[in-house]
């Protein structure tokens, strides 16, 4: 019964999971609330990559996985995919966004104005070590502007289109259930525009940055100018079965438009995601900008960057190499040994 004695699989995996969870200790509603309050940008990132806007669930996913980001996104996505699609919200136009921050690098000033909003861009990155020695950090109060910026603003590309500098994409007439949904259909190439944008929206931030940065450094044809970067809140308008349209609440969104000179016109790249994530939007928009006509197999080709920035798939495949592979390995060894033995036999001098 030697075989049976070695069967520790079930117990081993149970205990190893316990070991991990024991380190994290009790997870209660208070901890989830603390994560949500203390780490809004991390929560945003997880919501974006999971394509599920729910701060409580995202904070729970983070708490439950101890901040193992790939795991957090996976548990959230696995939960999301089992939920019914009750309805499709009304399309959101850029002008409708309740804008907190909106900047353009293309012009000194833009219609609607440059609105800095909340940012660390001009902060000095000094670690507040005093906090650790007992001096809490209290952020100084914000002084509201005498003349607040307008909450709703047009896009910069709309002005450029009016001045015949850029061709805006044709409006997509698809509505409701006819809108392709990447989470319910496979991604095929050349990909549908909706799939491309959805795929970038849920892409892994680090992955998009790596490939986007490669394009920015010169492994792409187009150098991006940030036409507009926007952090906003979007009203989710849905229709009650009785016909009434109502707001189901607001979600935080971020989006970036980047442009570059393409002959006598501007090429346009765009990306948007749930939550506030500037690095991801600029990188993703840069990839979008570079994808047209990119050579097959280059990092700026759509198939290349959409496949390889899919964080759940990439991280899962990466960690799968921990699984035993001894059957495939044995199969390769067999061919190697045989080829080697045959060669050795051939090289022996004839008797």
């Amino acid at each position: 019964m030697a075989y049976v004695a070695t069967r520790g699989g079930e117990r081993a995996i149970e205990q190893s999971e316990r070991l991990f969870r024991a380190e994290l200790g009790q997870i209660d509603a208070a901890r989830v609330a603390e994560v949500k309050q203390a780490l809004p940008y991390l929560v945003d990132r997880v919501m974006g990559e999971a394509s599920l806007y729910d701060e409580d669930l995202a904070a729970l996913a983070l708490a439950q996985t101890g901040g193992e980001l790939y795991e957090a996104v996976l548990v959230l996505r696995a939960w999301r995919t089992t939920q019914p699609r009750l309805t499709v919200a009304a399309p959101i136009e850029q002008d409708d966004l309740f804008t907190h921050r909106r900047i353009s690098a293309a012009f000194k000033d833009i219609p609607g104005g440059q609105v800095l909003g909340p940012t660390l861009d001009y902060s000095h990155r000094v670690l507040a070590t005093d906090v650790l020695t007992g001096t809490p950090y209290d952020p100084p109060a914000v002084e509201p502007a005498a003349d607040p910026a307008p909450a709703h603003q047009p896009s910069v590309s709309a002005w450029q289109a009016a001045n015949d500098l850029v061709d805006l994409p044709k409006p997509d007439a698809a509505t409701g259930e006819a809108i392709p949904d990447l989470t319910r259909e496979p991604l095929l190439f050349p990909s549908k525009r909706a799939h491309t944008l959805q795929s970038l929206a849920r892409a892994e931030t680090g992955g998009v940055l790596a490939l986007g940065y490669a394009a920015m450094r010169g492994y792409g044809q187009a150098h991006p100018t940030v036409n507009e970067l926007r952090l906003a809140e979007a009203e989710i308008v849905v229709k009650h079965p009785n016909g009434t349209e109502f707001s189901a609440g607001r979600v935080k969104v971020s989006q970036a438009e980047v442009v570059s000179k393409k002959g006598e016109r501007l090429g346009l790249g765009f990306a948007a995601t749930l939550g506030w994530n500037e690095v991801k939007c600029i990188s993703a928009a840069t990839l979008d900008l570079n994808s047209k006509g990119a050579p097959k197999g280059s990092p700026t080709e759509e198939e290349f960057f959409l496949y390889h920035t899919e964080g759940v798939e990439a991280s899962g495949f990466c960690i799968h190499f921990k699984l035993p592979h001894y059957v495939t390995f044995q199969s390769s060894l067999d061919a190697m040994r045989d080829a080697k033995a045959t060669r050795a036999a051939e090289q022996e001098p004839a008797e």
Binding site: M1, A2, Y3, V4, T6, R7, G8, G9, E10, A12, I13, L74, V75, R77, A78, R80, T81, T82, Q83, P84, T183, R184, E185, P186, L187, L188, F189, P190, K296, G297, E303, Y307, V312, E313, S315, G316, F317, C318, I319, H320, L323, P324, H325, Y326, V327, T328, F329, Q330, S331, S332, L333, D334, A335, M336, D338, A339, T342, R343, E346
Partner: protein, 304 residues
Amino acid sequence: MTLASLTKPWAPMSYGFLDASAKRELRRKMVKAVCVPGCQMPYASREVPMARGWGTGGLQVSLTLINPQTCVKVIDQGADDSVNAASIRRFLSRVSGAPVTLDTLQADLIQSRHRIPEEILREDQVLVLQVPNPEPLRSVQPNMSIARQMHGDADYGRMWLQLYEQIVRSGRVMQGASYPSMVNGRHVMTPSPIPRWDVPKLHMAKHLTILSAGREKRIFAVPPYCRVEPLVFDDVPYRVEDHAGLTCSRSGAKGFFMNEVPQDDGTSAFELSDSEYGVKSIRRAEGDPVDLGDTWYTNGELTK
């Protein structure tokens, strides 16, 4: 009649984890896959509570096929007690209430990573193979959209060339597992990284095999009694691993695919890769009344 009487009570999780729309898509894609043997059908591939690359494709198929009466067996590299096989088995049983087994003969549904059991599968059994990379052309064409076109054109020239180059360079075909095979005379498929030993088991098999790649979102199938022919040249016959003469150091069984276990003295011992077949062989040797099914190989030679 009330609305409540028409609907099921709310539950935090659907039966078998996947919701009805996901299962419907999978059923449709499985039917398509059976209709065009060996042809990769794209599917949405939902996230499941397991990491990609850990059998999520096979899991989605199993979750769709399972019912409370389905007897399930899960193996990884031939072993039922491998940690990931244990994890998948536990999950399948937890969300479906299905009974589990280690015995190939008892199983209705077998989810496997990289092995086909040594006992011959019957018409009433379904084998679900986990697939890391569904594209046999990947090594000659990493771009999936081009590879898809090549399948459409049955353009397998580069595949043959690759095998030919191996023979020229190394004197033999060097492909280890995942041996590219022509299915029903039309589509080249990867049989998943099963050893070459297992590929002939798929040819004209009585059972249905469904191969599913969750991460890559492709599903394909070998229906019962379908041709599966490894790509070989007329003058270079197909060769399985040279395991026919090996004896299992634990059970004494001979002529099956083995795991090589390095020993302290620099030599190797071998043990049956199909762990439950090994257990049954030991039990029979000890006088237990156990059923050993007919096997695809007898004394290391293909019997069927």
